[in-house]
């Protein structure tokens, strides 16, 4: 089911310049994504976890070039995405898609649902109305909705249904990768399960790969094949799912897991982190996590740790394992 590498991201960086003053001088940078490397294989679900401000949403958008990368490399099926011109980029757009968190703002309220789904087809040159109608109908059925819903407007649907429509829109051009940016966080628990099942069915049937961005570790545990943890713009740990939940290495990962009662390892206590997430404008020196880490050592405030593989396939960036 899981094939070779499809997406390769190498040392990707996305910085936002903050300007201020009368003539808009640059007074700082937000390092939203600060050197991220990851791989996604065909048909694999990579869970990307982290809290607000860690850059996971920005990472997703930068991979799709919805935000222009500041530096770094993105390769999709071997093709360099960063260097693509507008025309080639548009062709690629169908293959890498995105599903958003908020069902209320992900659909244009003035367009029928069918038009929103068909937009991809129009942009890619399909203009025959009969064919469009047919494809929209099939997409709606694929996500569990009736074909004639295409004529209705977004405000007539519930949150779960809107999310299904968003998924249908993403599937319009048969993508190979979908970046799902917290797709179930805004939904009720009972609806959440329906949407997760849908995403799994589509994955099984079409061999899609997902980057599943979430802060909800229990959902990530259910869906993912591999899990990566982000903190302040960097990936601090990556592992296969089983290994990740059985043997978390990075202190931040331990704290994340311990915060949820159902995920604490046997005999574990709840780890309380002191303080708040630092601002991405001013990340701490050395290891970014050292200000809240309960196992901090003197070296942590001076040198930023590199990614090491202690166990094979389980890289972690922490001086405890250097």
């Amino acid at each position: 089911m899981i094939g070779g590498a499809m997406l390769e991201v190498n040392n990707l960086k996305k910085y936002y310049r903050i300007t201020g003053g009368l003539i808009s001088r640059s007074i700082g940078e937000i390092r939203a994504v600060d050197g991220v490397s990851l791989t996604v294989n065909k048909g694999e679900v990579l869970g990307l976890v982290g809290e607000s401000g860690c850059g996971k949403s920005t990472l997703g958008k930068t991979i799709l070039r919805l935000e222009e990368p500041t530096s770094g490399e993105i390769r999709f099926n071997g093709v360099d995405v960063v260097g693509l011109n507008r025309h080639s980029l548009r062709e690629l757009r169908g293959k890498m898609q995105i599903v958003f968190q908020d069902p209320d703002s992900s659909l244009d309220p003035r367009m029928t649902v069918g038009s929103s789904i068909a937009e991809a087809l129009i942009v890619h040159g399909i203009s025959d109305p009969a064919e469009m109608e047919d494809r929209v109908a099939r997409l709606l059925e694929k996500v569990g909705l009736e074909a004639d819903f295409g004529e209705r407007y977004p405000h007539e649907f519930s949150g779960g249904q809107k999310q299904r429509i968003g998924i249908a829109r993403a599937l319009a051009m048969d993508p190979q990768l979908i970046i799902a940016d917290e797709p179930v966080s805004a939904l009720d628990v009972s609806v959440q399960a329906q949407i997760l099942n849908l995403m799994m069915d589509i994955r099984d049937r079409d061999g899609l790969a997902y980057i599943f961005v979430s802060h909800d570790l229990s959902v990530v545990r259910y869906l993912s094949d591999r899990v990566a943890v982000m903190y302040l713009g960097r990936i601090v740990e990556t592992a296969d799912k089983a290994e990740f939940f059985r043997n978390p290495l990075h202190p931040y990962t331990e704290a994340l897991l311990s915060a949820i009662a159902g995920l604490r390892p046997e005999g574990g206590e709840r780890i309380l982190l002191t303080g708040d997430v630092p601002s991405p404008l001013n990340p701490p020196a050395g290891c970014r996590f050292h200000t809240r880490c309960r196992r901090v050592m003197p070296v942590c405030s001076q040198i930023e740790p590199e990614l090491h593989q202690i166990t094979r396939g389980h890289p972690v960036s922490c001086h405890l394992y250097a």
Binding site: L66, R93, Q97, S105, D108, M111, R152
Partner: protein, 311 residues
């Protein structure tokens, strides 16, 4: 697989907004009057007598059902006799000091007010939308330059400009329309720009870009339709302002004295408040009702379009 029905029964978009608007009685009343006024303005002058028809024999006739005392000074006898003059059915709203029929003048004034209102608002909103959307969409230095230009135009002394133009070219309604239109777009530009900016950050615009849509497609298919409700509301709320502005300008003599706009009528009527009060009061009432109706209707529209107000 769960097949759900839509949570609410299907309705077309316009029906949906109409349903919401309908509940606001005041705004429906306002809409009713606006429609009535439009019909009067479009078709009225076809059926009404020529408003410019002067007939000094019937000057200063009161409206039907009212009476007024008139003093006539006889030079030969040196006496003034007071008679009571009643309104006549063939001039139901009375006549002015030159014997012109009030109803005909008001009808013709309705047409003028509506034309001025629509044209000036149209010009102002077109400019405002163009600049606002362009500014929001482009961002960067284009946005900066356009907004500074807007700031400058905002401080422009439009009244002074109007006086100067009238001084040079003589008064005319066309001048009023142009001046109001060309200087009144600044508020609209600001509001439309900020609304466009907020729409631009919504997920569905990002989704469009992710699908490969071009900037032009996003602007015309997504941004402008979503700003359209704001534009419509602004139009209905600015038309009365324009009508009042034109009336005020005509009142102080900067309008076309030959026209029968309500402001001009008011101007001629202000001198004869004791002998022919209706000449000033009637256009005044029309202005009042017109402005009120547009405001009620516009408020209702705004509430109907507002996505936050649901129950």
């Amino acid at each position: 697989m769960n097949k759900g029905k839509p949570a609410r029964s299907g309705k077309r978009l316009i029906d949906y907004y109409w349903e919401r608007l309908r509940k606001n009685r005041l705004s429906i009343a306002g809409l009713g009057f606006v429609v009535f006024l439009s019909l009067v303005g479009i078709f009225g002058p076809i059926f009404a007598p020529d408003p410019q028809n002067t007939d000094f024999m019937i000057k200063n006739l009161p409206p039907l059902g009212f009476s007024i005392e008139e003093s006539v000074y006889e030079i030969s006898t040196g006496e003034s006799t007071t008679t009571v003059v009643w309104g006549r059915p063939d001039h139901p709203l009375g006549t002015d000091s030159k014997g012109r029929d009030m109803l005909a003048m008001l009808i013709s004034g309705a047409r003028i007010s509506l034309l001025v209102g629509l044209l000036a608002t149209g010009i102002a909103l077109f400019l405002g939308t163009f600049i606002g959307v362009l500014s929001a969409f482009s961002g960067g230095w284009v946005d900066n330059v356009l907004m500074r230009f807007t700031d400058i135009m905002m401080t422009f002394p439009f009244f002074l400009l109007l006086v100067m133009i009238v001084f040079i070219f003589g008064p005319s309604l066309a001048i009023i329309v142009l001046v109001i239109g060309l200087t009144g777009w600044t508020g609209a530009a600001r509001l439309i720009r900020s609304e466009t900016l907020s729409i631009r950050t919504r997920d569905f615009v990002t989704a469009s870009r992710a699908l490969g849509a071009s900037d032009a497609r996003i602007m015309f298919h997504h941004l402008i339709p979503n700003v359209s409700s704001l534009i419509i509301v602004m139009a209905t709320l600015s038309i009365p302002g324009v009508i009042m502005a034109e009336a005020a300008l005509s009142f102080i003599g900067l309008g076309d004295p030959m026209s029968t706009s309500w402001g001009t009528i008011l101007n001629t009527g202000q001198h004869s408040l004791d002998t022919a009060w209706w000449v000033a009061v009637e256009p005044g009432i029309m202005l009042f009702l017109t402005v009120l109706s547009f405001n009620f209707f516009g408020d209702g529209l705004r509430d109907a379009f507002d996505p936050r107000a649901s129950i």
